[in-house]
Structures are given as structure tokens and as C-alpha cells.
């Protein structure tokens, strides 16, 4: 109760300060500071940068966890991290990389690029966009606080029951997992909804669905996948929370529950999830390959169809994660054939990329190197994917290092390489500066070779009988050499990533100012300034076909034709409510983890409802940028 009173008093003080009843000049200073501007921003470009950078920070954390895992496995019978500590490392590595690194970094690029690509001034719901980001951050922080407050989750990123239930995982570890993911999941769901509405409603005149760039298309399909897949996770996590906190028995077999129920719920979400992180990667690759081949994307329509078909099939195949559960040969066969069929649209994509390059003029910038390196790597990951889809063969592969190799080939060879390609490609658009190409190439080669050195031997480790998620292996059964090579390879990836970080710092300090169109681009984002003005386009561009900007260049025009006269532009005002609401969720989450005493949880929920109330009665209509100011800004850009 004491804590509660202290917190309430503190909250009252904060409210007093923020309402200006306390010190008006101090308030003014805070509100004019850059930090306050970033904390309250609703500008999609700034939110995109926030997403991207915080995702990258989590990528580094997940990477350090990966490094520690490989160090433990460098020699047999090593005792650096054993038992529960090792299980905490693998759990947090998987959870961090999927939920807190890959998704936000993708969301970051989407946020920056999508409105620009479709010629929009903003996303449909700028407030929700900010809220989505802050909820993701709150969830991610909550999850990682488990390292500090003891007992990180240790039941694997899949948190299979019964292991994840109280009886076998006492202590708060899994509670951090459940509540952290729940909160950041709400953020993701909100973000996806926003992209979907933006793409449907806010395209500039002439931008029909079949003129949208590939990255926009994949974002659109991905948003649909999130919209359908995340509710399954939400439900699963809620049931698990009830089992753990309130003694329900959804998953406890002794009380009539079912362990397989969790697996179904998890994988109905979990399988689409891998397409949620790979489809945008396909989109990025399509943009990069087409730009640096100086050619239109080959077979655009079939690419669009392939994307939607992959999205659809993504929902039909979750049981291939459960071939060894014993669901019987009928279920296994049906899901096997469904899974294999995904290879067809994916193959279409690969061949379309190859034929985009065919007859083009290939420029090997760093972005293009990552895109080119992606093709053989991803094809290998896809091949092992088809092999995994055959249930009898999967009986051997399942839960072995072969699977570990497979999904790292797809997720690193696909998603991470695409994220790096996208970073080098869109960096000038995000920050107005070009990343250094020389360092970029060092980054690519170390990362690429290190990656293959790490994960190629793991196929064989699995085939030679090494299960995944083990902290040790016996000596004398020929697993030593391959494990050693695998661990050495990690350092290649570490050096590559360090080169990237160094590159970023160097570019911020003394990078070259980029022109608005440094790569001779084809899509609309290259038709506005780098970085774009807050309103993106002074006049919405008129789109006359696929690769709209390229068409204008071909026709001899230097810029897009406007679709509207110059007029004052309406902009949304910044808001501090999203971050407050996220803090409310954070406090509530922490309160539930504390168990026993729910006063803090209630306080957090109260804060959430108060901020919702404030938002509901918020009458701020935004503001207009007058024509003169737009003209001034645009002139500044040109000179």
C-alpha cells in the first residue's frame, strides 16, 4: 500500500508539472527540446527511425546472446553456461530476434518508406502509429528486465507447456515472456492495422493497386497476416497467463487441459509469423534488385499473385511444426502437401528476380551485394524447407540442428540480409546521408562468409544426431570439429555487424549529404527530398504507371507532375499520450508479474484508462502549414 501512495503522489506531481501549474518556463523548455519532440512525435518518418534503431539495439542484445550460446558449444563438456542459464539464453535469443529485432526493424523501414512509395503525406492514424511503437518498446523492455530482476524465461521461444507452467517453471521467468509479448503484440497489431488502412485509403491519384511498388505490396499482405495471426498468439498468451497467475488449467493434462492445445495456438500464430518477417524482405529485395539492375521488375503481376498466395498458404501449414506430436498420418500427409506447395510461388519469385537481373546493368553497391547474396542463401534455406516438409524425413530433422540451420538460413539469409540491404538503400532517405560503401563491403563480406561458416555445418550436426537447445554434446561422436567451425563463423558476423555500427557512427559524424535520388531510383520515395519535409510531398504526385518516377524520367521530366494545386497542408499535432499509455501498460505488466499483490497492476491499468479517456476527449484538430512556408522549404531543398 505504501508503494501505491508514493506512486500516486509522484503521478500527481508529474501531472502538475506537465499542466504548467508548476513552472511555466520549465515546461516551455521541455516542450521545445529535441528529446521531447522525439518522445511525442507522430511523424511516420521519425517513428520509423525510432522503430529501426530500437530494433537494432535489440538485434545487438540478441546477437550477444547468440555469441554466448556458441561460446558454450565451442568444445564438448564446456561449463560456461549450463542448465537453466543456457535455456534462458536460447529463449531470450529466439524471442528477442523474432519479436524485438526483426519485426521492429521491418516496421521501421515500412514506416519510413510506405507513405512515400504510395505518395501519401502520412499514415492513416499517426497517433496509433506512435502508440504502436511505444507499446512495442514497453513490451520489449519488460521482457529484458527479466535479466536484471532474475529468472529470464527459459522454456524456449515457443514456451511449450507443461514446461512453461508453474509446476515446472516456478518463479516469474515465463510471466515476463507472457506479459512482455502480450504488450508488444498489441503494438504490432495496431501497427499492422495502420499500414493496411494507409495502403487502401491514402494512395496518391493514379496509384492503382497494380501500380504499387513490390515493397508496398508485401507490406500490405504482411499486415493482413499480422491481423489474422496475432490474435491467436494473444489468446494463447492470455490462456497461459490465466494458467500461471490465476490457477486455470487450460494446458495442464492432469486437470483435463491439453499440452497440444498450446502448440496449435502457438503455431497458428507462429507459422504465419515467419512469413510476416520474410515477405517484407522479399519486397525489399525486389526494390533493390530492380533499381540496381536498371530494369523493371520481371513478371510484376506474378510477383503480386505469388505474394498473396504465399500469404494465404502461410495459414494452412502450421501443423508441419508438429509432425512428431502424433496427430496421425492423415493430418501429417495433408499438411505435408500443403507445406510443399509453398515452394511453387516462392520459386516463381526467385526466378523473377533472376530474370530481372537478366539483360540489366548490374551495379554492385552494398545494398545490391546483400540482395545478390540473399538469392543463393535463401534458395538453400528454401530447399531444406521442402525437405523438412516430408513427415518421415522430418521425424529425423525435427528438433535437431538441421532445423536450426534451416531457419537461420531463411531468417538471417532472408530477413536480416534484406534488412541490411534496405538499410544501405534507404539510409539517405531516412537520414539524408549516404552510408560509406567501402565499410559496407567489409560488412557484407565478413557477415556473408561468417554466416555460412556458422550455419552450413549445422545441417550436418543435425544429421549426425545433435538435438537443438542442448548446452553440451558428448565427445568422441564426431561433433567436435563442426561445432568448432560453427562457433568460429560467428565472429565473422560479429565483425561485419561492428563494421556496420562503425559505418553508422562515421556517417553521422561526417557523411556526404545525399541528393534526393542517389541511386537513380524508380519509385516515388526518390521523388522527394532526402530526408523528406515533414509533409513529404508539397503537392501529391500524379502517377501514370508502374515505376512512376522512372516513367517520368524516361519521358524527360525531372520530377513528378503534381496531382493537385499548392495549398495549405494539414498536419497532426504531436502527442505525449502514446508514451504515457505505454508506460501505463508497462506498469500494469510489471504489477501482474509481481504476483500476489496486484495493487501495482491496478494502478497501471488505471493509468491506461485515464490516458484513453484523455485521448477520447482530446479536441486538438492539428494544424496547417501555410503555402508560403511550403514554398520556402521547397526552395531550400532545391538549392
Amino acid at each position: 500500500m505504501g508503494t501505491l501512495i508514493v506512486l500516486v503522489v509522484l503521478a500527481l506531481f508529474l501531472i502538475a508539472i506537465f499542466n504548467g501549474g508548476y513552472n511555466r518556463t520549465f515546461l516551455e523548455r521541455v516542450k521545445n527540446s529535441t528529446v521531447w519532440d522525439w518522445l511525442t512525435t507522430v511523424d511516420h518518418k521519425k517513428i520509423g527511425i525510432l522503430y529501426f534503431l530500437s530494433g537494432f539495439v535489440f538485434f545487438i542484445i540478441g546477437g550477444i546472446e547468440a555469441l554466448l550460446i556458441r561460446l558454450q558449444l565451442i568444445v564438448p563438456h564446456n561449463d560456461l553456461f549450463v542448465g537453466d542459464t543456457f535455456n534462458e539464453l536460447i529463449t531470450m535469443h529466439g524471442t528477442t530476434m523474432i519479436f524485438l529485432a526483426a519485426m521492429p526493424m521491418i516496421f521501421g523501414l515500412m514506416n519510413v518508406v510506405i507513405p512515400l512509395q504510395i505518395g501519401a503525406r502520412d499514415v492513416a492514424f499517426p497517433f496509433l502509429n506512435a502508440l504502436g511503437f511505444w507499446l512495442f518498446t514497453a513490451g520489449g523492455l519488460l521482457l529484458n528486465l527479466s535479466w536484471i530482476f532474475g529468472g529470464a524465461p527459459d522454456a524456449g521461444w515457443t514456451s511449450y507447456t507443461q514446461l512453461a507452467l508453474n509446476e515446472y517453471s516456478p518463479g516469474p521467468g515465463i510471466d515476463y515472456y507472457v506479459l512482455g509479448l502480450q504488450i508488444s503484440g498489441i503494438g504490432t497489431l495496431i501497427g499492422a492495422l495502420n499500414f493496411m488502412v494507409t495502403i487502401v485509403n491514402m494512395r496518391t491519384p493514379g496509384m492503382t493497386f497494380l501500380r504499387m511498388p513490390m515493397f508496398t505490396w508485401t507490406t500490405f499482405v504482411t499486415s493482413g497476416l499480422i491481423l489474422f495471426a496475432f490474435p491467436a498468439l494473444t489468446v494463447g498468451l492470455l490462456l497461459l497467463m490465466f494458467d500461471r497467475l490465476f490457477g486455470a488449467n487450460f494446458f495442464d493434462h492432469a486437470m483435463g487441459g491439453s499440452a497440444v492445445l498450446w502448440q496449435h495456438l502457438f503455431w497458428i500464430f507462429g507459422h504465419p509469423e515467419v512469413y510476416i518477417v520474410i515477405l517484407p524482405a522479399f519486397g525489399i529485395m525486389s526494390e533493390v534488385i530492380s533499381t540496381f539492375s536498371k530494369k523493371r521488375l520481371f513478371g510484376y503481376e506474378s510477383m503480386v499473385i505469388a505474394t498473396t498466395v504465399i500469404g494465404f498458404l502461410g495459414f494452412m501449414v502450421w501443423v508441419h511444426h508438429m509432425f512428431t506430436v502424433g496427430l496421425g498420418p492423415v493430418a501429417n500427409s495433408v499438411f505435408a502437401v500443403a507445406t510443399m506447395s509453398i515452394a511453387v510461388p516462392t520459386g516463381v519469385k526467385v526466378f523473377n528476380w533472376l530474370f530481372t537481373m537478366w539483360g540489366g546493368e548490374l551495379r554492385f553497391t552494398t545494398a545490391m551485394l546483400f540482395a545478390v547474396g540473399f538469392i543463393p542463401t535463401f534458395v538453400m534455406g528454401g530447399m531444406t524447407g521442402v525437405m523438412l516438409a516430408l513427415p518421415p524425413a522430418d521425424f529425423q530433422f525435427q528438433d535437431s540442428y538441421f532445423v536450426v540451420a534451416h531457419f537461420h538460413y531463411v531468417l538471417i539469409g532472408g530477413t536480416v540480409m534484406a534488412l541490411f540491404a534496405g538499410s544501405y538503400y534507404w539510409w539517405p532517405k531516412m537520414f539524408g546521408k549516404l552510408l560509406d560503401e567501402k565499410l559496407g563491403k567489409i560488412h557484407f563480406w565478413f557477415f556473408f562468409i561468417g554466416f555460412h561458416l556458422t550455419f552450413f555445418p549445422q545441417h550436418f550436426l543435425g544429421l549426425f544426431g545433435m538435438p537443438r537447445r542442448v548446452f553440451t554434446y558428448q565427445s568422441g561422436v564426431n561433433l567436435e570439429t563442426l561445432n568448432l567451425i560453427s562457433t568460429i563463423g560467428v565472429f565473422g558476423m560479429v565483425i561485419g555487424t561492428l563494421a556496420f555500427m562503425f559505418n553508422v557512427v562515421k556517417t553521422f559524424k561526417k557523411g556526404v549529404q545525399a541528393s534526393s535520388d542517389p541511386w537513380n531510383g524508380r519509385t516515388l520515395e526518390w521523388a522527394c527530398a532526402s530526408p523528406p519535409a515533414p509533409y513529404n510531398f508539397a503537392q501529391l504526385p500524379k502517377v501514370r504507371g508502374y515505376d512512376a518516377f522512372w516513367l517520368e524520367k524516361e519521358a524527360g521530366n525531372k520530377e513528378m507532375q503534381p496531382a493537385e494545386p499548392l495549398a495549405p497542408i494539414h498536419m497532426p499535432s504531436n502527442s505525449h499520450i502514446p508514451i504515457l499509455m505505454a508506460i501505463g501498460f508497462f506498469v500494469a505488466g510489471f504489477g501482474f508479474i509481481a504476483r500476489g499483490d496486484f495493487s501495482m497492476a491496478i494502478l497501471g491499468l488505471v493509468m491506461v484508462f485515464i490516458t484513453m479517456f484523455m485521448r477520447s476527449f482530446d479536441r486538438d484538430p492539428g494544424y496547417y502549414i501555410p503555402v508560403e512556408e511550403i514554398e520556402r522549404t521547397e526552395k531550400g531543398v532545391k538549392s
Binding site: A336, V337, V344, E361, I375, V379, D399, L482
Partner: protein, 333 residues
């Protein structure tokens, strides 16, 4: 990839290939050298799918390398690039060919999926009930009235029908050299058929994360010729040997006082491995070689050997008491 880069990568690739050719799996654990018919079926499918995939990969990589070399931008040369939309016939080709390839794989896949799930019929089937515990395996031969732990004996050439039960959390039963895995799920009974066509020792693993000791939840499968197997059965059915020396008698007393609550022999509510025939085991706790030294190490601090093990430390005994206990355990054959 410029020529310069190619020469930079080549030695590393060569190194990896060399390193890989230097090692192959161990015969007790290798899925690529199956020693039983289930593993054989699975290996056949692995080979088929791998060959087809290799063909696809070769096609892609050939086009890929050609494109990269042929169409790279050369300094000072400006090439006219044709903005082709696509080509419907090409696109149909690379849609139809994969469908044909997948059909070739799908037919044997479905067939062997059903084959492997089938319960073997006839007299000549050995039934074994497998139970996975945190972190040890229990094997019961209901028709022979034998119960063992950590070591599964099977006769060569005979189908073994496994009934897989779970008590606590999920595990997964895997003997790589004999055949693929089946999950252990509490509240559910899974089945699986294995056989070995060569005598030998095959390492078994738990493949599903089951807690702190997951990495060490190993067991062994001994495939024996029928006559040897029969001899083993006879040995197992013999009542446990009686303690003879005074040391062993003292050990028995200590065992009854300290261990029996969990190691309750053949009692159905068994919590820990049945130690009636402990002297015949080749391992301590499924992983350590069976020596007196290792047994003492295990008794004194089980968690240092297998993190998360449920067995409490037996470190309060006097040295001579420990000696007696070990003596008694070793005499149980």
C-alpha cells in the same frame, strides 16, 4: 561478384569443404547411415528430396552466376536496357515444373507416412512401453514382465512396437541411427515402430526442450542377437541377487533408508529409475561411463552431473558408508 572478390572467397570455401570431408557422423548416432528399416525409409526420402532440391539449386545457381558475370556494369560502357514486363511462358514454365517435382516427392511421402504409422502385426513383435521422465527414460516390457531404465535392449531383426507415455513435461524419443522421433506428451499415448538390422549400441536422445537437464537426457539402445537377448531376459527375470558380504548388507540397509522412497523398484508409482539390476548397467545416470568413481560423483552431487536432476545430494554419508552403498549397488545384477 567481381573477379577479385571471387579469389578472396575461394580459399575459405575450399577450407570449409576440406573440414567437412574430414568428418562424418558416428555410427551410433548418424541419421545418414541408418541401421534399421524405419531409418532406412526416412533416409530414402531424405535422399530423394535432396537430389531433387540439388537439381533445383544447380539450375538457379547456374543462371545466377551467368547473370552476375554477363550483365554486370562495365566501366565506360553504357548499355541499353530493355524494360521487359515479363514473359508469360517463362512464368508458366517455372510454375509447372516445380509442381511436377513436388508431385514426385509427395507420392512416396504420403505412402511412407502411412507405412510408418502402421501398427506391426503378427506374433513376432516385441512390445515396449516407454515413459519419459525429467530427465531419464523408463522401459517396460509388458509381455516379459521386465522394467528397466536408461537402457533399451532389443533383438536384432524383430519389429519393436513402442508405446510412448509421458508423466511430467514434453520430451521426444529419438534414436538417430534407428529412426526418427516421436514426442512424449503427458495425457496422450503415441506409438512408433523400430527395428535394428545389425547388433550394436545406438545412442538415444531427448529432442524436445524439457528443462535444465535436457541436454543430458540420453539413453542407449542395445540391439542383440536373439539368443543374447533371450539370455538378457532370463538375467533380468532372475530375482535380484542377495547381499552376501557384510559390507553389502550395510549398503542394503543404507539403500533402504536413503533411496527407497524414490527408487521403489518395480512399484507402479515409481519416481526414479528402478535399480534392481543396477550392476548390469553400462552408464551412470545415462551419460557417465559406469565406474565406481563416477557413481560416487553422482551420489555426492547429482546436479553437478545433470543440472536439474531431481535426486537429492547423498553427501552426508561417512566414507565407509558410501563405500558400502556403492558396493551394494554394484552387486545388484
Amino acid at each position: 561478384m567481381s573477379r577479385q572478390h571471387f579469389w578472396r572467397v575461394l580459399p575459405i570455401v575450399a577450407l570449409v569443404v576440406l573440414a567437412l570431408s574430414g568428418c562424418s557422423g558416428h555410427e551410433s548416432l548418424n541419421t545418414l547411415d541408418p541401421k534399421g528399416s524405419a531409418g532406412e525409409t526416412q533416409f530414402d526420402l531424405m535422399k530423394l528430396s535432396f537430389l531433387i532440391m540439388l537439381g533445383v539449386f544447380a539450375t538457379v545457381i547456374t543462371i545466377f552466376v551467368y547473370v552476375l558475370i554477363r550483365f554486370r556494369k562495365r566501366k565506360g560502357v553504357e548499355r541499353k536496357v530493355d524494360n521487359v514486363h515479363g514473359n508469360i511462358w517463362y512464368e508458366i514454365t517455372w510454375t509447372v515444373i516445380p509442381i511436377i517435382l513436388l508431385t514426385i516427392m509427395a507420392i512416396p511421402t504420403v505412402k511412407s507416412t502411412f507405412d510408418l504409422a502402421e501398427e506391426p502385426e503378427g506374433e513376432d513383435v516385441l512390445k515396449v512401453k516407454v515413459t519419459g521422465h525429467q530427465y531419464w527414460w523408463e522401459f517396460e516390457y509388458p509381455e516379459l514382465g521386465i522394467r528397466t531404465a536408461q537402457e533399451l535392449y532389443i533383438p536384432v531383426g524383430k519389429k519393436v512396437f513402442l508405446e510412448i507415455h509421458g508423466r511430467d513435461v514434453l520430451h521426444s524419443f529419438w534414436v538417430p541411427a534407428l529412426g526418427g522421433k516421436m514426442d512424449v506428451i503427458p495425457g496422450r499415448v503415441n506409438t512408433m515402430t523400430l527395428d535394428a538390422d545389425k547388433p550394436g549400441m545406438y545412442q538415444g536422445k531427448c529432442a524436445e526442450l524439457c528443462g535444465a537437464g535436457h541436454a543430458l537426457m540420453d539413453f542407449r539402445v542395445y540391439a542383440k542377437e536373439q539368443s543374447e537377448f533371450d539370455a538378457w531376459v532370463a538375467q533380468m527375470k532372475k530375482p535380484a541377487s542377495v547381499a552376501t558380504t557384510s559390507d553389502q548388507k550395510k549398503g542394503e540397509e543404507l539403500f533402504l533408508q536413503n533411496c527407497l522412497a524414490c527408487h521403489a523398484g518395480t512399484h507402479p508409482k515409481i519416481k526414479a529409475p528402478d535399480l534392481t539390476k543396477f550392476g548390469t548397467r553400462e552408464t551412470v545416470a545415462g551419460i557417465l561411463p559406469h565406474t565406481e568413481e563416477n557413481l560416487k560423483k553422482w551420489l555426492k552431487d547429482p546436479q553437478s552431473v545433470k543440472p536439474g536432476a531431481n535426486m537429492p545430494k547423498i553427501d552426508y554419508l561417512q566414507p565407509d558408508e558410501l563405500e558400502a552403498l556403492v558396493d551394494y549397488l554394484e552387486s545388484r545384477k
